[in-house]
Amino acid sequence: MARIIGGIATSHIPAIGKAIAQEVQQQPYWKPFFDGFNPVHAWLEKERPDVAVVIYNDHGLNFFLDKMPTFAVGASDLYRNADEGWGLPVSLPFPGYPEMSWHLIESLISEEFDLTTCQEMLVDHAFVVPMTLLWPDGRPIRAIPVAINTVQFPLPTPARCFKLGKAIGRAIESFNEDLRVVVIGSGGMSHQLDGERAGFINRKFDITCLDQIVDDAATLSQMSVAELVLMAGVQGVELLNWLAMRGAMTGSVSEKHRNYHVPISNTAAAVMILENDTVVG
């Protein structure tokens, strides 16, 4: 059976992709952020996952407002990146795992998560940046993208995303192949690009989130979307991806690594590694 060997949450700010392309990771502005990934690389080297389930939000590359799925799962053998319009270099494609995607889809829909299935799916920076941060020297891994709508309100509630994550966890661990799986939650932390409150960052709330993601995610998931926007900023709602990742883990997890740094571009940036204390029930 497949086994979840850990969960990783990381920011996906487009500027990170540009910094990698320009190789400025060791400049003073970037170093405190990129150095936070050294322990992640060591952990991945030791744990060697075979598959990454990447929970992220599309920002208008694959999905537009004409058809906006609340939850969508990729079922392709290859996921391409493309021009997003603001000058990010286009990444090489990412190999998928359609058999496992369909297993996830069948399992999730049988649990009443009526999601959208995508046999073609462009993946944007919210997928690409975490993959590049985690595997800077190439990606010996197959990926399954899971997209959560953060563009068109109403968004799914934090509680629903947490439950989706739990169902994803059960789906992964019932896949009948001997695989090591890492679940990635993309985005965050607090930030807001639009409105008079543009540039809003809430360090206190972010730290509370990081703590609660580890040991009290059920309480965190009881927030409403409006409360989340108030506390984390409009784009800080990407915490939904983190909650889904956390849901895929068991009730009790150990925090193996954390780095929090402000600011990267307009955003509070963070990375975190979680390991399950027991097998998913």
Binding site: G87, F153, L193, G195, E196, A198, G199, V229, V262, A268
Partner: protein, 125 residues
């Protein structure tokens, strides 16, 4: 039993968030044409076409007068008022090389330097 939130109570909750326009049903209805145009800027050819003839490009997407004026002003606050969504507007802003710091500064009514300084200070809190 919990009573499900109605759309008006959801909107009230959004409207109480200071300095923020949540992209809800109201914005979706108002801004569809504008957002559709901005979504088209994922393509380099379309960005070029817009740069060459903004009015013709806006005609093709049937933008209203408010949206056209906001575009001419290069003003994000006005574009959001006209129903624009920030994710799509960022693609439009990319045509002119406007960074998210410049956009943030414009919306706050401060200089780009002051905006960047504010972000740096947010790390010290």
């Amino acid at each position: 039993m919990t009573v499900a939130a109605t759309s008006s109570s959801l909107q009230d909750a959004y409207d109480r968030i200071p300095g923020t326009v949540v992209f809800d049903s109201r914005a979706a209805m108002k801004g569809y044409a504008l957002n559709k145009m901005c979504y088209s800027f994922n393509s380099r050819e379309n960005r070029e076409a817009y740069r060459l003839n903004e009015d013709a490009y806006c005609d093709a997407f049937e933008l209203n007068a408010q949206q056209r004026l906001a575009l001419k002003h290069r003003n994000i606050t006005e574009l959001i008022e006209a129903g624009g969504n920030m994710y799509y507007l960022a693609k439009w802003a990319g045509i002119f090389g406007m960074s998210v710091q410049q956009l943030g500064a414009q919306q706050r009514g401060i200089t780009e330097e002051a905006f960047k300084e504010m972000l740096l200070r947010a790390g010290d809190q």
